[in-house]
């Protein structure tokens, strides 16, 4: 299977690999996928005010999955939380030229962003009510 140059670039030089403190109230963590399906993505955001100031990821999955999550962290950094929520998988598919069989990788990346934001919001709600 031939990979697009952008997928290869993200695979060779993944952006924002790593972990943030999952216990921090400023950090939202999204873990999506399952090992038996062949891909798991962990995407974390650090939010100040309503801006995502940092994002990190780790991914178990094929090159397209790694590239999708790497790209997602690149895109959401510096964005408002609501703008990040508006990113759709089709934008990732287009940017990385993913073939049909790899579309689920982009879906997973979108899900990971949403899960991280949901986790962050849940922590904020918990703070407020406490």
């Amino acid at each position: 299977m031939a990979y697009s140059e952008k997928v290869l670039d993200h695979y060779d030089n993944p952006r924002n690999v790593g972990s943030l403190d999952k216990n921090s109230t400023e950090v939202g963590t999204g873990i999506v996928g399952a090992p038996e399906c062949g891909d798991v993505m962990k995407l974390q955001i650090k939010v100040e005010g309503d801006t995502i100031v940092d994002a990190k990821f780790k991914t178990f999955g094929c090159g397209s999955a790694i590239a999708s999550s790497s790209l997602a962290t690149e895109w959401i950094k510096g964005k408002k939380v609501d703008e990040a929520m508006a990113i759709s998988n089709t934008e990732i598919v287009e940017e990385l030229s993913l073939p049909p069989v790899k579309i689920h990788c982009s879906v997973l990346a979108e899900d990971a962003i949403k899960a991280a934001v949901a986790d962050f919001k849940q922590k904020q709600d918990g703070e407020e009510s406490a």
């Binding site: 695979y11 972990s19 873990i31 996928g33 090992p35 062949g38 962990k42 094929c62």
Partner: protein, 404 residues
């Protein structure tokens, strides 16, 4: 070293130069039809085919009259199974095979099920092997054929063929084995191993693609087959079609070389495999061998690298030509049916790579490959949320995953 380096010897092998040299005249000067009885071109072709038949019979421990040429193993499998089914179907409609067989066997069996045959699919053990005991228990009054592969193409596990053959002989059931991965790689003897039908392909043993053979026992018992293609009645009526003379010459020459060099080839492949696995296991944790370590094809090393996914690994060793048990390389997202049948979890199946070593593999190539593999695995584990969790002491089986 030439890049990429070939480590996929279970998929196919290069044609040995000695084999190619033997074949070439049969394309351009000795191009006769082996069935032409009226002139020297035909006689020369027929003579070459006879020589090849002798060479093939020799490596199998068979008689040359028991060799039927085909286009390869897939055709031979279809001919053996469907041919037996049609010939002996009035005696019984039951067939025994195994879930770890090649798709050519499994899909033929499924086809026969649609035509009224009943098939028992034995489950291999965690090493990918079936036992003679399992076969004995599966044979019924109406069983007409047992089909068990000699060596598995994905994990290299070698089945106890002699024992399985003995059970079949004792129970009066025909025994067909797919020898595609074993002929020319490990000792094969259709007499001592109690085999009634056996197939193999030229391109797996340094011969050309598009040619193979089916061994069909002629005595004790005499096996009869219904031909699956109608035509000129070549190959004693079992396989019509003008003989592929250059291919057949190549198949014969490949067998002659393989028979002569068997011990040397085996020792070389084992040495290469051991060198490779020693380096891998010396540098990485959480690596498992798929297949039977004590009864494995010399040149096959199927490894699971836990917490990294196979396709991304293959991207990591750009200079190595290997094959993945991971689904993502194919259009279907299912992991390998062999690893599944062995009970290897889907998660580890997604992390498995098959390395194949052979006649042309060098120690220098092994060292280079091991280095690339180790680097890629380490890099991807740095990227792996699963590896991180395991390092933190989290039991992955306790996590509620969101499967998709």
């Amino acid at each position: 070293m030439n890049f990429p380096i070939y480590f996929d010897y279970q998929a196919t092998t290069p044609v040995d130069q000695r084999v190619l040299d033997t074949m070439l005249p049969y394309f351009t000067s000795a191009y006769g039809n082996a069935a032409s009885r009226s002139h020297a071109f035909g006689w020369k072709a027929e003579e070459a085919v006879d020589t090849a038949r002798e060479q093939i019979a020799s490596i199998l421990g068979a008689s040359s009259k028991e060799v039927v040429f085909t286009s390869g193993s897939t055709e031979a499998i279809n001919l053996a199974m469907k041919g037996v089914g049609e010939m002996y179907g009035s005696k019984g409609k039951h067939i025994v095979t195994c879930l770890a067989e090649h798709k050519a066997v499994l899909d033929t069996a499924k086809h026969m099920e649609k035509e009224g045959f009943e098939v028992t699919y034995l489950e291999p053990d965690s090493n990918g092997a079936v036992t003679a005991q399992q076969v004995a228990e599966a044979i019924r009054e109406d069983t007409i054929l047992v089909t068990i592969m000699w060596a598995n193409n994905e994990v290299g596990t070698v089945n106890p063929i002699r024992e399985i053959g003995a059970i079949c002989r004792e129970r009066g059931v025909l025994f067909f084995t797919d020898g595609t991965q074993s002929v020319g790689k490990i000792p094969v003897d259709v007499e001592a191993d109690n085999i009634d039908l056996l197939c193999f392909s030229g391109h797996k043993l340094y011969g050309p693609k598009g040619v193979g053979a089916l061994y069909v026992r002629r005595r004790k018992p005499r096996v009869r087959l219904v031909a699956q293609m109608d035509g000129g009645g070549h190959e004693r009526g079992m396989r019509s079609g003008t003989l592929n003379v250059p291919g057949i010459v190549g198949l014969g020459a490949a067998c002659a070389v393989a028979e002569k060099d068997l011990e040397k080839d085996m020792a070389h492949s084992i040495a290469m495999r051991e060198r490779f696995e020693e380096k891998i296991f010396g540098a990485l944790d959480h690596v498992a061998i798929n297949g039977n370590e004590n009864s494995r094809l010399p040149g096959c090393s199927n490894l699971s690298f836990a917490y990294v996914e196979g396709e991304s690994l293959i991207m990591g060793f750009k200079d190595l030509a290997v094959s993945s048990g991971s689904a993502c390389t194919s259009a279907s997202l299912e992991p390998s049916h062999v690893l599944q049948a062995m009970g290897v979890g889907d998660e580890l199946a997604h992390s498995s790579i098959r390395f194949g070593f052979g006649r042309l593999t060098t120690a220098e190539e092994i060292d280079f490959a091991a280095e690339q593999v180790i680097t890629a695995v380490k890099k991807l584990r740095e990227l792996s949320p699963l590896y991180e969790m395991v390092q933190e002491g989290i039991d992955l089986s306790t996590i509620a995953w969101t499967g998709h």
